[in-house]
Homo-oligomer: 401 residues x 2
């Protein structure tokens, strides 16, 4: 066999694959309670499903035809109206919006459009497992800003200032956050934009959980003076329309960035999924999106979140966590227990699955600062089973102590 | 705005985008006859469409759920059986097959898995417009092997030997070919495999048109002794199942390559489209695929091919071309006319659209050797309209001479 490229050795696939392996292992077992997944747990809106099923039957050829690289202009126009309505910011559907094959492709293309070898990208630690490797694929280096449960997992601008350097090319902001559920403060974004202007770096604003919030909204980076020309925002339909299998999202940014991303996208995926785009045109019709989010998704997830919060306090009284303001997860500091047990978070997760059939994700997969923590999704199980899961965690820990 | 990456300047988007612009322009006009597109012109099999529409309605959540990066194992098992049946080669569905988001992603990941900066990749000239830029994105360089209409657009092993060097990392073979419709000979593949072994380079076998043939089948690279360990084969459901909008294909290769491609894919697209995969599971059921190809697709396309061949001979008697053995296209050498008209192929295509509302694709988009040629799709129009289009081409040329 001829040689493979060095890049395939330097990037690691472990966190995503280890999570997937854990979930696979879980599925093979019988009565498992999963706090592991990161996917929505509700079906997509009924009207959307019926619309696309009908379109496939009545206009099969058109519904599965090739589309253009930037995506259907009808959909981009609806997105533009929707962004204006929610965030008060106008985006040109022709020049400033591009449909992508999921938030993952959005991140990849954004990094591809801006990174030179040697450039540095600053991430918050802990953070989503999908940022560091594409940064490395494009030759970039990663720097970290730590956050802690005691401070509500809020990043501090002083910590960011410490790692900013002439090599800084971008900062990635995920708000609401995975794994912590944190929404950053207005003050932080305002300081971040000032810093980005001073040091001329990009802000990649990953807003894939923007509609999954339980009170306060996330600050909108582009709404801050001077932010537009240095911000690329990543959106996903996976979370807000519960259609992850269609691999569909979109990106906003300055026209030059969209143009650069489109160039790369031609050779990465050519075009986004057509049936998914047609389904999302329906999603924006007649308040379907608002009804779905306000009457189905948010009430369900909020109820489970509140329930799990109480259950954590009751069954894991020594653990520390914060009530998530958005997204799907509690990020729980288990160090008081783990230290007493003499186990790290990964051993804990593996044993908990083996002994009690409960899935949690080891915090160290999300970064150095995640050590001793676990991520627990609250959207996948009913209240009853959330309680059962926490009881089992309690029983497992108690059996040790 | 902070700086963009240099790579976004060095790659060109022109051919694909210029073709798209030409087709957009054409759609805005009234009665146009399109020999331009590269997409299938038939709806997908009815059973497949109804199956996926039903799945969406009955199991919406499951049908649009996240899948794994390599794709659904059920589908990979069916693919493995299908490849065995058609080509007599066994591929392990776990280790040697990966589902990708279209042939485009397959090419991208294959190049990403093998190319180091400075590596050379040999292409045939003219060739598909989507190879050279992803090669450059990964830092590779392109070398060319010319083919000519007088030799049936068949590549010669001597020409390949001339450009092979210690820097050669891969050769890309597209058979059946776009834009020429050529299927390479057994002798060529056998010599190619020998050369690849001697000089230790990869063969990327782009087999996206493998089922779109009108007589002889393409030689199957992996069936040649010693080829398996150095061949990556790219497949697409877009052409054989007429579902380009689902962005779905697959790749076969040695386990190490599949592993390396999967690593990159995690950060490029995370997973392939789930509804499309479910649809393709149905495609392999109960001979649906065979009936669709043998009774619908091939007879329709062959009739149109034969008709266009005669029409070219009748209305463009000075033009030179070959009867395509596969794929969707005639690649027509118009130099006798163009020289007399004092126009190049791009000017000819633009003026033909403007004056006669007929779309053809300029040959120079496919490479230096394509100058003076045009690509004409025969699958998009009925026989009657094919004749009308050729009449218009004749009238346009005659008005000049």
């Amino acid at each position: 066999m001829p040689r493979l490229a060095t890049r395939t050795q330097t990037i690691v696939s472990s966190p995503i694959r280890r999570i997937a392996a854990l979930l696979d292992e879980a599925r093979r077992k019988g009565d498992i309670i999963s706090f592991g997944g990161g996917a929505p747990s509700l079906p997509p809106p009924q009207e959307v499903v019926e619309y696309i099923a009908e379109a496939l039957k009545r206009y099969p050829q058109k519904t599965v035809a090739y589309g253009s690289t930037r995506g259907m202009i009808e959909l981009r126009e609806l997105i533009s109206q929707d962004l204006k309505k929610y965030w008060g910011v106008s985006y040109d559907p022709h020049e400033e919006i591009m449909i992508v094959n999921g938030g993952t492709e959005g991140i990849y293309l954004a990094l591809g459009a801006i990174l030179e070898p040697g450039d540095e990208v600053i991430l918050i630690d802990p953070t989503y497992v999908g940022y560091s490797e594409p940064i490395r694929l494009f030759g970039g280096r990663v720097r970290y800003v730590p956050v802690r449960v005691e401070e509500g997992y809020q990043p501090k601008i002083e910590d960011l200032e410490k790692v900013v350097s002439p090599l800084t090319k971008a900062f990635i902001l995920l708000s609401p956050d995975n794994p912590t559920g944190r929404i950053v403060t207005d003050k932080f974004v305002s300081d971040l934009v000032r810093l980005a202007k001073e040091h001329d770096f990009w802000i990649i604003f990953d807003a894939v959980y923007k509609h999954i919030t339980y009170g306060r909204q996330t600050p909108w980076v582009d709404a801050y003076p001077g932010a537009r020309e240095r911000t690329i925002t990543i959106h996903s339909f996976s979370k807000e329309a519960s259609i992850p299998g269609f691999r569909l999202g979109y990106v906003t940014g300055p026209p030059e960035v969209i143009e650069a991303m489109e160039k790369i996208k031609q050779y990465v995926s050519l075009a986004p999924d057509t049936p998914g785009q047609i389904a999302m045109i329906k999603f924006y019709e007649n308040g379907i999106k608002e009804r779905y989010l306000n009457e189905v998704v948010i009430p369900t997830y909020r109820r489970r979140r509140d329930f799990m919060y109480k259950a954590i306090q009751e069954y894991l009284p020594e653990a520390k966590t914060t009530l998530p303001e958005g997204a799907f997860y509690f990020f729980v500091d288990l160090r008081p227990y783990l230290e007493a047990m003499g186990r790290d978070d990964e051993e804990f997760a593996n044993r908990l699955l083996y002994r009690k059939s409960v899935v949690v994700i080891p915090g160290k997969y999300f970064g150095e600062m995640g050590k001793g923590h676990v991520r627990m999704t609250f959207v996948s199980e009913s209240e009853e089973r959330i309680e059962e899961g926490l009881k089992r965690m309690n029983a497992y820990i108690t059996s040790y102590l």
